[in-house]
């Protein structure tokens, strides 16, 4: 079980890192195609609020899992 937890630790970290360029590229593509206020607000919320939370928490969580911090959970 702890090997699976550690393996998934790598998966979470990769997801956390991978989401950053994906979201930014999608935002740039959509804003360039239609630079409306609505688009700006939506992508600002995603980039400023949602993405940092997802990335930071997945990367940190993944590193902890990889280090075996969650092998024994109370």
């Amino acid at each position: 079980m702890s090997a699976i937890k550690k393996f998934f630790g790598i998966v979470w970290s990769i997801m956390g890192v991978g989401i950053i360029p994906l979201v930014i590229m999608q935002a740039m593509k959509e804003i360039a195609a239609k630079p409306s206020e609505e688009n700006w607000i939506f992508w600002s919320i995603v980039i400023v609020v949602l993405m940092p939370i997802i990335s930071f928490s997945l990367i940190t969580f993944g590193i902890f899992a990889l280090k075996g911090e969650y092998d024994v959970i109370a």
């Binding site: 699976i4 937890k5 998934f8 979470w12 206020e37 607000i41 939506f42 919320i45 995603v46 609020v49 949602l50 939370i53 928490s57 997945l58 940190t60 969580f61 902890f64 899992a65 911090e69 969650y70 959970i73 109370a74």
Partner: protein, 543 residues
């Protein structure tokens, strides 16, 4: 004799716990009421304070809607959580109640944009932020306070009463608004009557503050303080110490993020889907949600109590998994239930009425088409075309392709389909109660008493405010994106292949596209929760 003394002491303990639950729940319910009336009256508030022709005011309106929901709530969680771990639970969640009540009352008194100009939206925006801040501090305090009063082995049951308050707060808000609207009439309500629900809050908060003032501090906090074990810096201890930070992360990623999206999908997205994708008439769609919520609410307590017996993890994870697997079929069924293309029209009952009137500088042509279908469903389509009398203006609008009618579609379901729709929403509400019922007990039990308020509040408000709060925004966006040529949604493709439906034609919105966001978040949360969360019910004694 000894047996008698034990029974008396047990009865006193239960009665004291009940008082604690009642006092805490009433306050939390009122905070939710305050928070929801702003959202429910958003249209009127927007007309009064945020005129569309002023771009800054319109931007403030958008920010007021979103900022209070997800940016400010986590800050409130940190600010008041720290305070609660330093000075105590009782006074902290008393302060959040007063701030929430004061802000709500003040919103009801602010003169409109027409009277004080830009100050009106600016003040409303500031007060809305205060509401978000107070809400961020309230929940953690109430859950911690109740859990620290509850006997071991019954925390899931007792804290589940706090879990019902978010739903009951919505009921109270809708009930007060509908009663005032009914009593005063729509016009007076839109003019000044909308202020009454806000002003009424001061009365409700006053009663709740009085009740809370008479409550004693949490016994665990008192014991900890007496022993000098309180944290000197709860924020640093919660988020800088690895052992606590890793629990904050697991609470967020393995529980509250998934719970937040399931909660918002079942309670709010379902309504939006009924009204926008299925075009179910306004009152009927609200009734469907209200009845489903009313029937589903006791299940918060059922699953809270059950989590004391079989553990929190499996109930929450089962809720997430079943939600992920069944959202597609449920929403597909909801769509089909109201889909007119699958029904046979009774042609002889179709009526078309057209009226033309001159209003100010415009001619307004209203065309109402009414259709009846063989299963009893009725459909009303109102097209309103506004054409300027001025020929030059008319030509300009026509050139810009802006001479289009506003179309309002209303589907009214017959009794049998109405009940079926209630059933489909109720299933989702049950998922909500599975993930949300035990979560307060789960969160309070994974953190030590000295930093409990701070540590549990943040993942709760990020999970619900950010992950859950963004469901309407992101899901609506995904539905819009599905109109793009070449769009393909794996969920819809799978459902179509199973049911034999033909996919949505290119250029038309895919009604199921919006579900991809909650399904993705809940799936990740489920995997993390299953792998890393323990099903053990923790002891909460002062460490």
């Amino acid at each position: 004799m000894a047996q008698k003394v034990t029974n008396v002491s047990q009865t006193e303990e239960i009665s004291s716990t009940r008082r604690v639950i009642a006092a805490s729940s009433v306050g939390t319910l009122i905070e939710w009421y305050d928070f929801y009336i702003f959202g429910t009256l958003a249209k009127i508030i927007s007309e009064q304070f945020f005129p569309k022709d002023n771009p800054t005011a319109a931007l403030l309106a958008t920010l007021a809607t979103f900022a209070a929901g997800f940016v400010i709530r986590p800050f409130g969680a940190l600010f008041f959580g720290r305070l609660g771990d330093l000075i105590g639970r009782k006074y902290t969640f008393l302060v959040t109640l007063v701030i929430m009540g004061g802000s709500t009352f003040a919103i009801g008194l602010i003169p409109g944009y027409k009277t004080i100009g830009f100050f009106a939206p600016a003040i409303v925006f500031a007060l809305r932020l205060l509401q978000g801040l107070a809400l961020g501090g309230e929940y953690g305090g109430a859950a911690t306070y109740v859990a620290e009063h509850s006997p071991a082995g019954q925390r899931g049951f007792w804290t589940s009463f706090i879990q019902t308050t978010a739903t009951l707060g919505l009921f109270l808000a809708l009930g007060v608004i509908l009663t005032v609207r009914q009593t005063l009439g729509v016009e007076t309500f839109s003019d000044w009557g909308w202020r009454i629900p806000f002003i009424l809050s001061s009365l409700l908060v006053g009663v709740s503050v009085f009740i809370r003032m008479r409550m004693s501090e949490s016994p665990m906090f008192v014991k900890m303080k007496k022993e000098g074990k309180t944290s000197a810096n709860p924020l640093a201890e919660s988020f800088k110490e690895k052992d606590n930070l890793k629990m904050v992360l697991i609470a967020l990623l393995g529980a509250t993020a998934g719970q937040g999206v399931v909660w918002y999908t079942g309670q709010f997205y379902a309504l939006s889907f009924l009204q926008n994708a299925c075009n179910v008439e306004f009152v009927q769609s609200n009734m469907i949600i209200s009845i489903a919520l009313l029937i589903g609410t006791p299940f918060f307590i059922v699953f809270g109590a059950l989590s004391d017996k079989i553990g929190r993890k499996y109930i929450m994870m089962a809720g997430m998994l079943i939600a992920v697997l069944s959202y597609g079929p449920i929403y597909n069924n909801m769509y089909d239930t109201a889909n007119l293309k699958t029904k046979n029209e009774v042609a002889e009952k179709t009526t078309v009425e057209t009226k033309e009137a001159v209003k100010g500088t415009d001619t307004i042509t209203t065309t109402v088409t009414k259709k009846t279908f063989d299963d009893g469903t009725t459909y009303k389509e109102t097209k309103k075309l506004t054409v300027p009398l001025d020929e030059a203006k008319k030509a300009e609008l026509a050139a810009n392709d802006k001479l289009k009618p506003e179309t309002k579609k209303e589907v009214t379901l017959p009794k049998s389909l109405y009940y079926k729709m209630i059933g489909l929403v109720l299933i989702q509400v049950i998922f909500v109660t599975m993930v949300y019922g035990p979560i307060a007990a789960f969160l309070v039990e994974i953190f030590p008493t000295r930093i409990r308020y701070t540590s549990m509040s943040l993942p709760y408000h990020i999970g619900n405010g950010v992950f859950g709060g963004l469901v309407p925004l992101i899901s609506t966006r995904l539905v819009e994106a599905s109109k793009e040529p070449g769009y393909s949604n794996p969920l819809t493709n799978m459902i179509n292949s199973v049911t034999g439906h033909i996919g949505t034609p290119s250029g038309q919105a895919d009604p199921l596209a919006g579900l991809m966001y909650p399904i993705l978040i809940a799936s990740v949360s489920f995997v993390i929760g299953m792998l890393y969360i323990s099903n053990k019910t923790n002891n909460m004694d002062v460490e």
